[in-house]
């Protein structure tokens, strides 16, 4: 396996899960570019990110604010 960028990793993961919505993927991409690669998540940020992902999941057509 060659060295992949975050974008390429997401693309590869998505090829295995084609039903994942754009909103969820966009949210995750944003998190991967910031919060998720800085420090291990504490309980508060873990809850916040989980809720945002679930929110995006429940509203897959919403425009990504980020």
């Amino acid at each position: 396996m060659t060295n992949l960028s975050t974008k390429e990793i997401i693309k590869e993961a998505r090829s295995h899960h084609p039903d994942i919505s754009d909103v969820v993927v966009d949210k995750l991409s944003n998190f991967l570019a910031s919060e998720l690669n800085e420090n291990e998540l504490n309980l508060v940020s873990l809850k916040q990110i989980t809720n945002e992902l679930l929110g995006a999941l429940m509203n897959p057509t919403a425009k990504n604010e980020n």
Partner: protein, 774 residues
């Protein structure tokens, strides 16, 4: 970026300001134990680690390590100070208050970007890496390999994946779906989706009095239910009364109670929070077990010491069992919820006017129990006592209601059945939405899991590349330290079978070994630890390399090779070596290139108010002087030891030959034999006093002879007869020091063996003022 100077005052062992001037070179600093060498290492660590010194982080040092970082005898009006000047003449200054708080100016400097683990190696840390578990090795190395952020991402994705299931209450949703499916089967038997839709359309036609057109199924359902409710409202008193009894008779509270008991038995006395907490503990234990692959662990599940693999399987089984318990708990909650729904309906039906006369004839206690019942309290605490009371008081009333519907009113019975069908359909519609939510959440969880897997593959791929580079360096350095030894192919490796693990592999006499701990001696393990540190630090070309007493467990041969290793592999780096090994210090003085290396010695420690002091002498004789007042024998003996260490090394470099003695006698030659030989080489030692011509250096030879006489007489007396007096010891030390100093040029301060002219067969100092013809 090299270090130019380190100044400290009232920090650790320092009293008034003491300055370590490195002159931008590499350095060997010798000092006896406790002389204060490590205070300079601590000063650098304080700067790198933002005020934290790892070996001082313990329960006694105070919150800010204030009880340890400052000299115990610091005057009240003084601060602890550290000033480190770098190659570019920038100085980072740290002022430490009595409470340990500190200020650093400038706050961001080159030093704060150094990584401790690639800058400083201390004696106690040499073996740590080898002794660590695979998991700890992985955690320690990954950030140094530049892959820490990928590990953080993978770990965060794992946390989110687990949390999605909890926050999304997927287990509760699955339980509700399962309950609705059961009810659907009960009401619609095995009817297909199409026939249920057809049924709904018929009901719509019946109650709404029109043919369904473009409405969606949920709209049809809502409209039909509304029409049916309206019809119920317009029933005759007799029909309404029958409806109420029919509804009452269908409240299967007895079955509800049975379900609750059954699910309660499954669940036992466990409670969800407890289970959730236990799951967290298990997760932590799983992570712990992954880090302890090689050790036996006392298993909390069976209480016996088991291997980590067995422990992991016990934990897995416990996790599955607890997850089942969570499912059971959710089922139990759903059963209670169904009961509460039926109890609400019971209260509502009993309040109907049309059955008031019937109600008045029932058991007063039972009726008032139902009417005063707070259903939410039952939902929150459905105890066995409450369940028994419900069974005793309510079930009999429902049984009596059943008797009232023995002779059915066909229209009404149909109405009630249709109502139940429509309400079940409504629940099924909601369950269908829930199913979609659960499916979506499961898909997201699977997506997160795939992402994690891909990040782990990335870590493995990238780590393999870096590790192979570092392994090549480790193997090269090991080869220098251990030439011709049958321990080969030393390397870091990523085990194939597990993630988050790095191990050190090697070949021991041709046989692959999974861990150095299997076959290597302590000395060899430490040597390997040093090679790994140096290979890691070689990757980072900017900072100095600081080695604090790292060769303690090395024998003389291997210790000697460390100098060779540093000369070969770190000639372009600043290396700062601290040692209390006098013999090694003397060896290094002869071995290392004086153009690149400085050599300094510390005076033996006296007390906290005097603090750290540099010796003005280069030959460590101050160690001997420290004994003078109290123990002249020790002073004399130490002087002899210094001579025995220094003179043979010097003699070797000056190519002074002695007849071979058999075996160990050859290795144990004393300084006297060399001094005698040097003194007798009357024409070898020369000085260019007039700046043009060399002449025999007779003053030096006389000093060497004088020292030899005292070594033979007084030094031997101090070692064997213990009757040397202070004046004699002092004279011995001075004579030895004077003799040794003769080999250092008074003009250029370099030793006579500084430069070699192989062709003409002589050695000389840097400026050529003194030389030795061999």
């Amino acid at each position: 970026m090299k270090i130019k100077k380190i100044k400290i005052s009232w920090f650790r062992g320092a009293a008034d300001q003491v300055e370590l001037d490195l002159n931008l070179k590499s350095l060997v600093l010798y000092g006896e134990n406790g002389a204060g060498k490590s205070s300079f290492v601590d000063a650098v660590e304080h700067n790198i680690n933002n005020g934290r010194i790892n070996h001082l982080a313990h329960e006694y040092s105070g919150k800010r390590q204030e009880k340890a970082v400052l000299n115990t005898h610091i005057p009240k009006n003084q601060n602890g100070d550290i000033a480190i000047t770098l190659e570019d003449n920038s100085t980072v200054e740290t002022k430490i208050q009595n409470n340990g708080s500190f200020t650093v100016v400038p706050a961001i400097s080159d030093i704060s970007s150094w990584d401790y683990r690639r800058t400083i190696l201390r004696q106690n840390e040499v073996a740590d890496f080898i002794a660590n578990t695979k998991g700890d090795k992985y955690s320690a190395l990954l950030p140094l390999l530049g892959l820490g952020h990928l590990e953080i991402i993978a770990e965060n994705l794992r946390k989110i994946e687990r949390n999605l299931s909890i926050v999304g209450t997927l287990d509760a949703k699955r339980a509700e779906i399962s309950k609705t499916d059961q009810k659907g089967k009960l009401v619609f038997k095995n009817a297909t989706k199409a026939s249920i839709e057809l049924d709904l359309k018929k009901l719509y036609k019946t109650y709404c009095k029109k043919t369904p057109t473009a409405e969606t199924l949920p709209e049809l359902l809502t409209d039909t239910l509304t029409a049916l409710q309206l019809k119920i409202t317009h029933q005759s008193i007799e029909q309404k009364r029958y409806s109420s009894f029919l509804e009452l008779s269908k409240l299967d509270i007895k079955t509800n109670l049975g379900d609750i008991k059954a699910s309660a038995i499954k669940l036992g006395e466990s409670a969800n929070p407890l289970i959730a907490e236990k799951l967290n503990v298990l997760r932590a234990a799983t992570s712990y077990s992954e880090k302890n692959k090689d050790d036996e662990i006392e298993c909390p599940a069976c209480g016996k010491p088991v291997s980590s693999a067995v422990f992991a399987s016990h934990i897995k089984a416990e996790e599955i069992a607890l997850k089942e318990a969570v499912v059971n708990f959710n089922l139990h909650k759903t059963d209670i919820s169904t009961l509460c729904e039926n109890l609400q309906n019971l209260k509502r039906i009993l309040s109907h006017d049309q059955i008031k006369d019937w109600k008045d004839k029932q058991d007063r206690t039972a009726v008032s129990f139902i009417e005063s019942m707070e259903v939410e309290k039952v939902r929150n605490a459905c105890t066995s006592e409450i369940q028994a009371e419900i069974e005793n008081k309510i079930v009999s009333i429902i049984e009596k209601a059943k008797k009232e519907v023995v002779n059915p009113l066909p229209d009404v019975a149909e109405l009630v059945t249709d109502k139940e069908k429509l309400e079940t359909l409504q629940q099924m519609s909601r369950a269908s939405e829930l199913k979609k939510k659960v499916r979506d959440a499961e898909e997201l969880i699977a997506f997160m899991s795939t992402l994690q897997k891909l990040y782990r593959e990335q870590i493995r791929t990238q780590a393999s590349t870096v590790i192979s580079t570092i392994s090549a360096d480790i193997a090269c350095m090991w080869g220098i330290l251990h030439p011709n030894e049958k321990i080969e192919d030393v390397k870091l490796c990523l085990p194939d079978d597990i993630d988050k693990a790095i191990e050190v592999g090697l070949k021991f006499y041709g046989i692959d070994q999974d861990s150095p701990r299997l076959t290597l001696s302590e000395g060899h393990r430490n040597s390997l630890g040093l090679c790994i540190f140096l290979a890691m630090t070689k990757e980072d070309v900017n900072n100095p390399v600081i080695l604090d007493d790292v060769v303690v467990s090395f024998d003389r041969n291997h210790r000697g090779m460390v100098g060779t290793l540093l000369e070969k592999e770190f000639s372009n780096r600043q290396v700062i070596l601290f040692t209390h090994e006098r013999d090694w210090y003397i060896d290094l003085r002869a071995q290392l290139d004086p153009k690149r290396w400085e050599f300094k010695t510390l005076m033996p420690w006296e007390n906290p108010e005097v603090g750290i002091r540099f010796s003005t002498k280069q030959y460590t004789f101050d160690d001997a002087r420290a004994f003078l007042p109290l123990s002249p024998d020790s002073a004399g003996n130490t002087a002899r030891k210094i001579m025995d260490a220094y003179i043979p090394v010097l003699a070797e470099s000056l190519k002074i030959g002695l007849p071979y003695l058999h075996r160990e006698r050859n290795d144990h030659r004393m300084s006297h034999e060399f001094l005698e030989k040097i003194a007798s080489s009357s024409t070898s030692f020369q000085i260019k006093r007039d700046g043009t011509n060399y002449e025999p250096f007779n003053e030096a030879l006389n000093d060497i002879k004088a020292a030899d006489r005292l070594v033979v007489s007084w030094a031997n007396r101090s070692s064997h007869e213990f009757n040397i007096v202070e004046k004699e010891a002092s004279a011995l030390i001075d004579a030895c020091e004077k003799a040794v100093a003769r080999f250092t040029c008074t003009n250029c301060s370099k030793d006579v063996n500084n430069l070699t002219n192989e062709k003409s067969g002589f050695k000389q100092c840097s400026c050529g003022y003194i030389k030795w013809k061999y």
